[in-house]
Amino acid sequence: MTTTTPYRSETRLARDGFAQLLRAEWTKFRTVRGWVIGMVVAALVTVLVGILGPVGSSFSCSGPNGQSCGSHTPPLGPDGEAVTDSLFLVHQPLAGDGSITVRVTSLTGRYLDAPGAPAGRGLQPWSKAGIMFKESTTRGSAYAAVMVTGANGVRMQHNYTGDTAGLPGEVSSTTPRWLRLTRSGDTITGYESADGTKWSVVGTVNLAGLPSTVEAGLFAASPGYTVTTESFGSASGSGGDTLATALFDHADLQGTKPRGTWTGDDIGGQGGGNSPVTGFQQSGDSFTVSGTGDIAPVVASRGSLSKTIENGLVGAFAGLIAIIVVATTFLTSEYRRGLIRTTLAASPRRGRVLAAKAVVIGSAAFVTGLVTAAIAVPIVEKLERDKGLYVFPVSAMTELRVVAGTGALLAVAAILALAVGTVLRRSAGAATVVIVAIVLPYVFAVASVLPSGASQWLLRLTPAAGFAILQSMPEYPQVAAAYTPADGYFPLGPWGGFAVLCGYAALALVLATFVLRRRDV
């Protein structure tokens, strides 16, 4: 036999890059119509389920002139969040810099509208009394205050969301607390003391834009109580107002006092129902102040007429199911058809193949989620407002995080599904595993099928924790509330919960890479 000259191709070699692998996987994805349709279905289902909520709701509420119900429209704090601003304030104007000092010798409480109220003294853990500088007596105006509380010691709070702890312990005639606030420009400093001579700083806050004349005063407030009874699958709550009464002495206001006399105002005007129980008595520098209500951000709760923006995304779990099916099939169909051999013969570096697939399916899911949320959130919000429901305002950053977070949630779930599909190689099995791991715990938790304790643990331990990225309302330690998943609160918070999902996806991806590298195909 004669030797032959081996064939030499004329084609020039392109660079060897991850980009060409991405391009190949993207071409694969976009050329199967079912997958593209699956993504569109995910978006449509999410938006439609979101719209069904307000459209299907029979509630409507309007005032005499067609405006939404006043009682459902809380005032907004300086940072734009919804707040409760109900308290009894004994106050007078203070011009320019100055300070106020007081000694608190007692804080007691009682339940109002007693029928059904629990037994006990009625002092709430976050019943509070102390001194404050407030921009004005308008609800929602800026303030800074130091106070004693029912069970949380001395606190310095400002602008509804700010809270700094001072000394713990209850106040009584044998263990009185001295409190002091000083103003220097926009800077307010809070002090506490056990004896009126040795002072320590509780905190310093900056209230930018505080007018030169503020209201300085003594206040008392006590948040309402709720008793939630949970039985399997449902929860019922009851509650009512409480009243806090504080005894102050050694009250001393230093600085320019344009009026020089104290007046009392029941800000927020709850007034304790039919018989006015709030008010104050003055005797020299001693005051007795009784107040109800709270000075705090509003927190979301289930069944209330106030909605969070992520309420428009209740359908995300349904969209997620479609995404999971597409993402698992994106890989398992290659096993089913034997196409995985063509893929791995064309690109023998298997880890890179899986990475390219993850990037492609993750990006497709991200864009789907982003577009879905960008449509669903404003539409549902408008429908809810049209129904007279109140929608909690949130910052632009939070709204952005919820909208982009929808994309991120779908993207990471898709990558998890892809990885599980790689390991299991069967579409139905892989999709079922991922749906059971992500969607089921979420639905159980938010629909309060399970008691809230079990729900909270599910949303800590399962990949469903990732839904937390959609939570728009922060939890406030200084506001006693249920904070259950059904109320819209996830136990790990938005980023912690999302990190749990990411952890699962990363783990699955590592396992998938290991298995894919080792396996004969």
Binding site: P6, T27, V32, R341, T342
Partner: protein, 310 residues
């Protein structure tokens, strides 16, 4: 370095079943090498090992001197067709080629070229799910050619093709070899390779039984036998046996004579006055030669699960 496939001492077990048992052979450029053996002989497993899809327990498989998994644009080095049915049915044939081209840094222009070469222009925008097996084979050939590789490796490419397609495939493979490419074609039917292959690697039970040119194989199988056609079988047998030849009756009027050249047979019969109508050197068919070789290598089907379970 010669652009070839070199397989050295491959061994692989699937559980208790030995799939490859010291498989060794080399595919040379410029010719078509037939890779034949019964089902379960290890052909497909060998090909999967060459492509880095399966890992061998022992041994080496090299493409142009390099392991497949080290190739950065493997389709530029070797084009392969393992399973023509491995397609996403809802994707069009053209898009199938397109993603494969993209994975090698190639574009749509190259796709159009190979579509032309495989004669698929009219059907290329149809969904691959609607393709007949013969069309899928053509699509597989087109895919194997995408990288314009010096080595081609095709597993059972004649499967499911109509006679016209088989003729086309033969001519096409011949033209590829004529360009200097090394072409390895597997088949479990020797007849398919009769007029196609130059070289044969015959395998059975996971190893090479014969590695030879087609001409040599037929000559070996034929031996120095002579076929004799005569109506007078008994006198003929007597005359020929007397000089030491082995004579076997293979039909009512045919005898096969071994150990005696055709000229001597003619001379002896002439001297003895035994009439005959034809004396010819016996020529075995490739199929016969193959059956001869693989008789001992056909395995019980149950042991070949890996081959058929693909």
């Amino acid at each position: 370095m010669e652009a070839t496939i070199e397989v050295t001492g491959l061994r692989k077990r699937f559980g208790p079943a030995v799939a490859l048992d010291g498989m060794s052979f080399t595919v040379l450029p410029g010719r078509i090498t037939g890779f034949v053996g019964p089902n379960g002989a290890g052909k497909s497993t060998t090909m999967r090992v060459i492509l880095g899809l399966d890992a061998a327990d022992e041994g080496k498989a090299l493409i142009g001197g390099r392991p497949y998994r080290s190739l950065r644009h493997p389709l530029r080095h070797v084009g392969s067709l393992l399973d023509a049915a491995a397609l996403q049915p809802s994707r069009t044939a053209r898009n199938h080629l397109l993603w494969l081209a993209h994975s090698q840094g190639l574009g749509a222009k190259r796709v159009d070229e190979v579509v032309g070469q495989a004669g698929l222009e009219t059907a290329i925008r149809r969904k691959a799910g609607g393709y007949s097996l013969g069309m899928r084979q053509r699509l597989g050939i087109a895919a194997a050619l995408l990288g314009d590789p010096p080595v081609l490796m095709l597993d059972e490419p004649f499967n499911g093709m109509d006679p016209e397609g088989i003729v086309w495939m033969r001519g096409f493979l011949r033209s590829l070899a004529a360009q200097g490419r090394a072409v390895l074609v597997s088949s479990h039917l020797m007849g398919e390779l009769q007029d196609t292959a130059d070289q044969l690697v015959v395998v059975g039970r996971g190893k090479v039984i014969a590695d030879t040119s087609v001409a040599d194989l037929i000559a070996t199988a034929s031996g120095d036998r002579v076929t004799l056609r005569t109506t007078e079988r008994t006198p003929a047998m007597t005359v020929l046996a007397r000089v030491g030849a082995t004579v076997a009756a293979t039909g009512p009027a045919t005898l096969t004579v071994s150990g005696l050249p055709a000229e001597r047979v003619v001379a002896l019969l002439g001297e003895s006055g035994v009439p005959f109508s034809e004396v010819a050197a016996h020529r075995a068919s490739l199929e016969e030669a193959y059956m001869e070789l693989t008789r001992g290598a056909v395995e019980f089907r149950a042991a070949t699960a890996e081959e058929t379970a693909r």
